[in-house]
Symmetry: D2
Subunit: 342 residues, 4 copies
């Protein structure tokens, strides 16, 4: 069977998680997230972000997190602003619109939003009450293109949102990868200070399922649990989420796993760069988009699974490689060997 | 720590499931339910119901299953009919209404719907187009009161629905318990023939999470997966659901677990009956509602956790006891001892 | 053609309104409710209720008013409480649920809600976050049964709502009839003080279309216009609504029309009472529900149109008679004559 | 007071309509569109389109028509495709999204959609079930830019939609203007054959309110009235809509009014063209977008009201002029005089 670089959720979960599930399996616990593991995991997250007044909720996946957060924050006539690559725009089957809210699209090169991107949107939405009211800025870190926000960028965006009465929501499906990127100067504490709400993604970083939604803005915390229940996201056995995040947060396993994934991608990137290969975007996380000769792609595809992302010209295409917490050296070395041979 | 009879989702999962999760953990698999375990589990379910043309989808929990099924089947002006005890009516934070559909309430004694309950609803909804159109009949088996449908009852209801162009949807959160009840003459095959759509509940019968939605009516199958994705219910690691149902379906573990839970409840019931205790409803599944003297309730509550369900008079209240796949003889025996002592 | 007592919207509109539409017809005006007639009508309403800080919006009809008000006030997990006769419950094709909100039903005899009706609902909705949160109390005045709220009743209900953080919303589709009832001690000023939001119905009281929504609670006023536009209720030619309410409010035509309708119904009621006829409910507005011998009903139906409301026994049924701003003495006298003859 | 070229809904309605409202005012009629005027008007429309099996419904305005049509036709995961200038995209406060459906944006020069515009959208939405499914093509005729579809263009688009199982819906808020344009070779019959559903706009063509939705595709007709009621669009006094459309359809008043509006715009256009003025788009309906020197704009704005549409450079801007059924020669001549003087 070919090794897959298709995504970072091809395997099960980090073995520590399964061990913990085994260990605690027969304990009787309260349902719906009131179990002791969930409570401990929430406490641990709040400790890591150094914000005791934040609130933490666990849900199963990213689309679920996105639709619950957005529909609970917005009034019916308010809308979301997203980069054109935003997961909510094209990859969630209209989940946000299904809750009644428009997602406004902003074309960007690198998957990131800056105040200068948002200003024209605000200016073009002043025909009250004939247009939706932009109210929430949705960003991803790392982005869907593998790029990341630097501290300064997030600070500027955060300040801009405050000035303009916009909520700032960070989709952290790959937040571990974003924060442990070799070029990142952001950390979890700063993210918690600079966003109104964000989530720590587990599914793409070693958990079976699970995203930890962190609500930093106290005004947005009230009654949040109702929204989780109403959208079918409150697990009877909330322990499944609690135990996983407890393990991931302990000893910073979460960040170690992401760092590993990033490192494996960077190894491949480095070799490709040495061979003069160009990339679709300049990434420092676990996603890389090298532009390769179609012949080489053909050879690689006989040995590995990955997505062909975009045709560049008749001879070249960009492919997408994603590494995970479980991408071993062997797979990386074999990949590198093939490249070096060609 | 007191043993809890509060519900059937207090523990983790059956050990076979954890073993399977461990065994398959590092296999790379396709995401979003296209993994081989999910495919095998679906095939196995279709084999058990002997309906190759049914379609099977896995989701995380009951509220999620209910809201996806109902919102995908109904047009905007159509509504659901439910017994007054129906889970969707009072225990799901308006999840169905949040998708735009009214749930019409029918008062019943035993949590079950019969044609005679539904006829007046249809007659009272003929003021076209000023009223919602009843289109889907929602039933639970076993019901929220622990009662079950017999084959004849389901046949009559099914025929009535067909005649009246109503969909019949069975919430099977506790379907295992319903079908393995000592008095049940229904089985999975019959359920598949008599309903348009139903689900097999895993969460309350030994899984960590998971319900298997089975769509029997071919007209309702088209594009169903879109609805799962849109509601945030499509797990990236669908394997988590597939592996669990594969284990539960193998060798009928699913039914063995339910049978065990039922048996433990019936042991307690028998002893209580011998002591002359009355019950709120006459159940043969894993939920019993004995009416006890408040003093006895007090003593029991020092040793066990359970819900006080309903005050009957100044001296007596009904309590709810739920047993699970993991309720051991020790807990049952201790409970029985206390009763027999009093 | 038979004269119809079926409802109060069988005719066009009061002639003054058509005269005003003619008079102002070719003036060019700003669109979307910014025309001078709408502005004047709003000012006049605020003057009548003596609340300068209330906000007034015009929409086309009652269902529209109900769905806009309710969906704009509630968060996704909040719900409405309504008497079982409430128009939103059974006569609006699930319009409220279509915006995502449950309507909880309270059985009442006379179509009115009292704190004692609502207390049990609040007590039965404390299982956070598994149930909807009751947040808005919907009442009608006059009610769908023709009954009315007295000042003391509304004061008690208003105080109760404040204490329990519930919004109080009065559907005033027949507010004119309610307030001009011979037994009413309420008036527009008190209604504005005691409710968070209400509307003055035009459609059933001499307008072609139109309801005037009055928002008294300043916290509920923000951005309300967006909701009107989003639900398709913002008329390009808002003048049509403005001109009508300007005419209706001038010289209290609105109340004169309602008083006339009430008076005509009371004339019939009085004669029936003198003949010993009983009524389904004791009303003092433009709806009466006499219980008549089927033979008499047959004779009446050869001369008039009306609804047979409810079978009482084999010999008697209740009919519903509704009078309007335009029900003339001739029709009333003819009706009375037939009764007196029998 | 300055004459306004701001839009085509500044005045009341054509005098014939007010006369008819007066004439029929005191007739008692059935409510909710069952009045005889509505029935006659529907019959007349079906006769004009020569499609007896089409169904006709009247609603109050364009946003209402759009949201009812779209939400009644689509399943939850299906979406709309619209030109970037489409009214539903930016001018209806997210009305479509509020019913749960995404609107996909296609950039166009002239406000029109062609198969070649839609093909890439279909190709980019094949990642089942992770993306919305394009299902309905929304077009306007005349468009929001004043341009129109020729018969050949609509035929091609219609055939393309059929091949691709897409519904074709024409927003006809200005359909009269589109069809009576001096360059149009389309007519009402062809529109009815080539679209699944369309509407005839009254509000912008001489009615007080009202759009006539015509459903040509029999599969889309079932139970449509429920949707109108549920969205709050079913007027109790449906006669108001019926009487208006009866007058507009009689003797083709509808088309005469539109033709007049077009003619007045074309007079201005011709003079501007003779002076060498350029236009933002080449229109033959009642909207023109001349690009004028800022000094001239200043002078004109002292005498007329109109929108400055778009800054072209430091010296020039495009303005939007809209003429209506009631734009008299005097206003046009005065406008022309000023231009000719400069």
């Amino acid at each position: 069977m070919k090794f897959s670089f298709k995504n970072d959720y091809s395997e099960g979960c980090h073995p520590n998680i399964l061990q913990a599930l085994l260990q605690y399996n027969l304990d009787q616990q309260a349902g719906y997230g009131e179990d002791e593991y969930s409570l401990q995991a929430k406490a641990l997250i709040k400790q890591k972000i150094k914000k005791e007044d934040s609130e933490v909720y666990f849900v199963s996946g990213g689309t679920q997190a996105n639709l619950i957060v957005i529909s609970s924050l917005l009034k019916p006539y308010q809308c979301v602003v997203s980069a054109s690559t935003g997961h909510i725009l094209n990859n969630e089957t209209g989940a946000i619109e299904a809750t009644g809210h428009k997602v406004l699209n902003i074309e960007t090169e690198d998957g990131k939003l800056r105040p200068s991107d948002i200003i024209p949107v605000l200016e073009n939405h002043k025909n009250v009450p004939h247009q939706v009211m932009p109210k929430l800025v949705y960003i991803s870190n790392s982005t869907e293109l593998g790029t990341i926000y630097q501290a300064k960028e997030l600070e500027e965006l955060s300040a801009f949102c405050k000035q303009n009465h916009l909520y700032l929501f960070m989709d952290g499906a790959r937040l571990g990868h974003g924060l442990t990127s070799e070029i990142s100067d952001l950390n979890l504490e700063k993210v918690a200070v600079l966003t109104d709400i964000f989530y720590l993604g587990g599914t793409k970083n070693g958990a079976l399922i699970g995203e930890a939604i962190v609500i930093n803005n106290p005004l947005l915390q009230e009654d949040f649990a109702f929204n989780i229940k109403q959208k079918g996201a409150l697990l009877a056995k909330g322990r499944l989420l609690g135990i996983q995040f407890l393990e991931l947060m302990k000893n910073d396993l979460y960040f170690d796993l992401a760092k590993h994934a990033n490192r494996q991608a960077m190894k491949i990137k480095k070799v490709l760069q040495e061979k003069g290969v160009k990339f679709l975007s300049d990434t420092y996380t676990n996603q890389i988009f090298p532009i390769l000769n179609n012949d080489l792609i053909q050879i690689l595809s006989e040995n590995f699974e990955f997505y062909i992302w975009k045709k560049v010209d008749d001879q070249f295409s960009a492919i997408r490689l994603i590494t995970s917490w479980n991408t071993g050296d062997e797979a990386v070395n074999r990949f590198v060997e093939i490249i070096e041979k060609e």
